[in-house]
Symmetry: C2
Subunit: 678 residues, 2 copies
């Protein structure tokens, strides 16, 4: 058994075990803040007189405030107890204390990270968080070693996903705008692009297949060649304005593609398991949901590489640009890991043939798992055996290869407010090539700005007015402080943060074994199946009553069992033994082959899995699954000989047995069978 | 003089005067939270043993954490002291205590308002905040009275602005998609749209000029007529899919406008004073910056209605759709109030002629000023005289009329983290017609869902999975709790929140008088001019040396004076007497007529105001202005006979005199004159 001792000071604790030092820290920094106030022009005296607290209106205000706050406090206690090891539902847990304290302390100062002036301590820390994350992913952050990465925080993964697409779009269609402007100005750029030819000699199709690095270099070459040409300042300005007008952001999608009819609007390729924010991204950015292309998944809920490859081949052949392919590192429902390495390979091969697309990793959930693969001193990627220590299955060779290839992507979404154990809101976007900022900046100074000092200090100076380079505007400096302090105290490598992550994976392996054992034990009465082998730290299973072959009944039975694992805000929380979550495999969203397999294992007639339910007694449009995110790190804590997982599985057995008894006594189908989203 | 007593319990206070009860509340709710934890399955025992705090690794962790936190605390103290009445810079101030305490309390529970399951107490409160704000703006929130508003929080005003445009876009182009799908299905809708004709009889130009209300009604009629027709479920589904495919979000902008070539891509009209997030909106949403149309401003930095009207007429005549016009209620640089009432009128007239556009109010800054115009019991809009009480100029008739017309807009951006005195991040988007959500929802259930219970309770149920209806995904429940509790304790009407707002405006009137007096006093040495009469609570002024007619020197002198009003992170904060901010009127962004007038008053030769600076000794591309946001409510607090504004103006006199002496001794132009953005 793993020693969980290292975790003792990390969290407030399920029983608020660390309350004492938490209080102590909060008071220390609260008072520190208060004395800061008192020490700024002390002679000014008080604006709130010392007599104020004895006045009626003051006391009434305090009383009214207390009433509202107590009501809020009471209602908050009906929420799910994320801090408890008995909460094994969604991707929530107790929070890392360094983050909570830093967040609270900083909130009192209330910095705004939209610009350095409003967040002088926290904007540089936010950029440093970007580099901390980038290093964990294997992106280069050392200016001496060439192109560096950059990253920043967002309100969440959804915004980070939008930024991925937005960045790719502005970079991808820039060469066309530059070529257009150059033609208009009667100027040409020499030995640029992947083939080192004059810009004017590239076809539009070639121009939309420049890589991110090609385009960043193209811009640098353009600056240099314009400067070298001795062009007059007014002409440089006219050049710049022409480019701005001709870009996709200038013209808008409609006018841009109307002007360049040879180039159809671009596609974005994601696995069917991708989060719904990808739908939103295509809609909101005006790219069109019809241009979102879904890739089928395999038996481990990983993107099917053969299908991906054939889609790439198809678009290449049809000369349809692909803006981006998205690999998911830890799907939110199953925590499955897409084959990033194979996606990288296909991407590289395509680029060699002159067909390029960006590769974005949606690691909102799984991003922090990368810490488990990094050595402390050198930040080197670990050997598989090093990672595997103490674990049974993780990482499979496929998973290992996928994690290793993360460094070859162009950009990454990661949510410190998920597996980073930090408070909301804390998402992040990280890009491998900092050069992209010149294409999205609100102040397009790029044709003038030819100085090239790339130290972190000068990078911070360049990015200090952060709102110019990101989707959002005003943003909380306290989130940056929380992430920064946490990453300093619990560094993102296998010896620190990685150990915490490892505990969650270890728990999942144990959980898998226990559920498998329960399945064997109950095999005469029910079929318990784990449809997708849990690669990391989320596990799903389905329960069918032995002898039943109708999906509607299986779902009904599952929901009845689940009823007691679900928060009910009208009943005291204390009545709950454990809290879980569920997910649904929806007809049409899962491939027929895969559904057939899953249902086959459960001895369900796959004909009862339908798009349009006609016979509610038999059919359903979804497959109900129990789902557990094993994020609480205390699940293997044992007392009286049993840990939380043992106890949960015992409880589950009890629930199943109970419902079997009830089922045998009733005709459950008399009730309305709920639909996927109820 | 106003009595500031009512403010005594509102804030922690510039000298942390309310530290005692702040500590007391924080500890109360921290402990309340801790005991909640202890009371969930108490028998489970501790996972952190009581011996843990005596172990080495535990103590090392605490020590490392303290080091990082202390470093953070130290750096935070170099930031601007937002809480102090000596801070009269940007739009920052001390925070309302109910909000800070609610935020802190809720953060410990860490709810996620993406969905009710993750934020059962805070999602309903967030929607309630939307209605609180809507009521303040005069939108209907009573289901009995017809169409109701809805609103929600965002990470900031930037995101809220994007949502405004996004909502308008999806609604505006929906009728075309519906008509297209109906044609394909061989179905027609009867007596719909502004002219109550069959849908098939409308031209595309007419279809893009349906109002928001028309389109919401159209959708309701479509549902009803499809249901009444007895169409088969499969056909209904096919119909629905066809609509989805044909919408702008389905096709994407490029394919949509390629298909409907009669309709050019739409314009968005904003005043030149609009925040740069509007540029970002057009870029990110793929609409194209070239389609952002800027309206000139008048001598009060208000949108010039004649120019606006002529633009509207032009687009109508050219048959170019206008997605939205944006009026700014409190520009971020000058706090000027656009003539919303006249914009409404022009919009209504245009609609009567068959030309429609949405009207969005960017009230990020000024939104909370609306509280000053609402009566307590009835929420009625006050008479001008009621608002004016205690004030000298505010509200001018124009300003009053503008505020009154806010209720006639379609949607509003407001930032509780600005004039709402709440911590970051807390922006908000409010829409007058809740029907818009059917056009932006991620689950397009609209053709089925014909139940029409519109009580708030059922509206909360409908919106409980909030992430389906907004731009963001995961979002902090603590921000919702902070805004909700604050609005409950300090309600949004003239007797509560309005009083706080009034203090800020009163301060500005006093400030105006003092600066005017200073200008008279120093008129032989310098010209001090207030270029734009301060309508609300931000004031700008320029200082020129008497006898100088060159802009470069004026700017240089202003910057030298300002140097001592600026935070310098390498010097102790305590050395600062006052902290201000500045802004620049940039050549090309301000109209030539207006610039001529402003410079004339300052006796500057307007030929020295140029786009491309050649002679740095004389010319500049911007006009430097001192800018003060008077958000701290303590500026009129007086001791030893003088208040903070008196003291600031005295200090300013001193700075000016000092710099005049220095100037007379040197040739300042030997130094490099800085540019607008230095």
């Amino acid at each position: 058994m793993m020693d969980l001792g290292f975790l003792h000071p990390f969290f407030l604790g399920p029983k608020a075990e660390n309350q004492e030092f938490f209080e102590q820290f909060l008071l220390e920094f609260l008072r520190d803040h208060a004395y800061w106030r008192k020490n700024f022009h002390p002679a000014d005296g008080n604006v709130v007189p010392t007599s104020a607290p004895y006045r009626d209106h003051y006391l009434q205000f305090i009383a009214a405030m207390r009433k509202e706050l107590q009501e809020l406090s009471a209602e908050l206690k009906n929420a799910a107890p994320f801090y408890s090891p008995r909460y094994i539902g969604h991707m929530n847990s107790d929070l890392l204390l360094p983050g909570v304290i830093a967040e609270f302390m900083t909130m009192m100062y209330n910095p705004n990270n939209v610009a350095g002036e409003a967040g002088p301590a926290t904007v540089p820390r936010e950029l440093e968080v970007g580099w901390q994350l980038a290093r964990m992913f294997g992106y280069n952050t050392d200016p001496e070693m060439g192109t560096t990465a950059w990253g920043h925080l967002t309100s969440g993964g959804t915004i980070a996903n939008y930024e991925g697409i937005w960045n790719f779009r502005e970079v991808k269609f820039y060469p066309i705008a530059l070529a257009e402007a150059a033609r208009e100005m009667g100027f040409d750029f020499e030995t640029v692009g992947p083939e080192r030819r004059n810009l004017s000699t590239y076809s539009k199709w070639e121009l939309v297949n420049f890589s991110v690095a090609d385009t960043v270099e193209l811009l640098a070459a353009a600056k240099q060649q314009i400067t070298a040409s001795g062009m007059k300042p007014n002409d440089v300005k006219r050049f710049k304005n022409t480019i701005d007008r001709e870009t996709l952001v200038g013209l808008g999608g409609a006018a841009f593609f109307a002007k360049h009819q040879e180039i159809p609007p671009p596609k974005v390729i994601v696995p069917i398991t991708a989060h719904y924010s990808w739908d939103k991204a295509l809609k909101i950015l005006g790219l069109g949901l019809n241009n979102l292309v879904l890739v089928k998944t395999d038996k481990k809920m990983r993107l099917r590489i053969d299908h991906f490859e054939s889609l790439v081949a198809q678009f290449e052949q049809e000369q349809v640009p692909v803006l981006a392919a998205v690999g998911v590192l830890g799907t939110t429902e199953f925590s499955s890991i897409d084959p990033i390495d194979e996606m990288v390979e296909i991407r590289e091969d395509a680029y060699d043939r002159g067909f390029y697309f960006g590769l974005h990793i949606d690691a909102a959930w799984g991003g922090y798992m990368c810490s488990l693969f990094r050595r402390e001193e050198t930040n080197q990627f670990c050997e598989r055996e090093e990672v595997r220590e103490d674990l049974r299955y993780f990482p499979s060779q496929e998973t290992y290869d996928a994690f290793k290839a993360v460094a070859d992507s162009d950009s990454i979404t990661v949510d410190p407010h998920k597996l980073g154990y930090l408070p909301y809101p804390c998402g992040a976007f990280v890009a491998r090539n900092m050069g992209v900022i010149d294409f999205i900046s609100q102040k397009a100074s790029y044709l003038y700005d030819i100085k090239d000092d790339r130290s972190h200090k000068s990078q911070i100076e360049k990015l200090i007015n952060l709102g110019q380079f990101i989707l959002e505007g005003s943003k909380p400096g306290c989130a940056a402080a929380a992430a920064y302090v946490t990453h300093r105290v619990v560094p993102l490598n296998k010896h620190h943060f990685g150990r915490l992550v490892k505990v969650t994976i270890k728990q999942c392996e144990y959980f898998y074994a226990k559920i498998t054992a329960l399945a064997a034990e109950l095999e005469k009465k029910v079929l318990i199946k784990i449809p997708f082998f849990p690669e990391t730290n989320i596990i799903c299973f389905a329960v069918n009553v032995k002898g039943n072959d109708q999906l509607a009944l299986m779902n009904f039975f599952g929901r009845r069992v689940f009823e007691r694992l679900k928060i009910n805000r009208f009943k005291p929380l204390q009545m709950k033994e454990f809290i879980g979550s569920y997910t649904s495999l929806v007809k049409g969203k899962i491939s027929d082959e895969l559904a057939e397999e899953v249902l086959g294992d459960l001895e369900i007639n796959s004909e009862t899995f339908v798009v349009d339910v006609v016979d509610q007694q038999r059919e359903a449009d979804h497959i109900f699954l129990f789902r557990h995110s094993l994020m609480s790190p205390w699940l293997l804590h044992r007392w009286e000989g049993r840990n939380y997982i043992d106890r949960y599985v015992d409880y589950l057995r009890e629930l199943i047995e109970d419902e079997l008894v009830k089922l045998s006594k009733s005709r459950p189908m008399e009730k309305k069978v709920p639909k996927a989203d109820d």
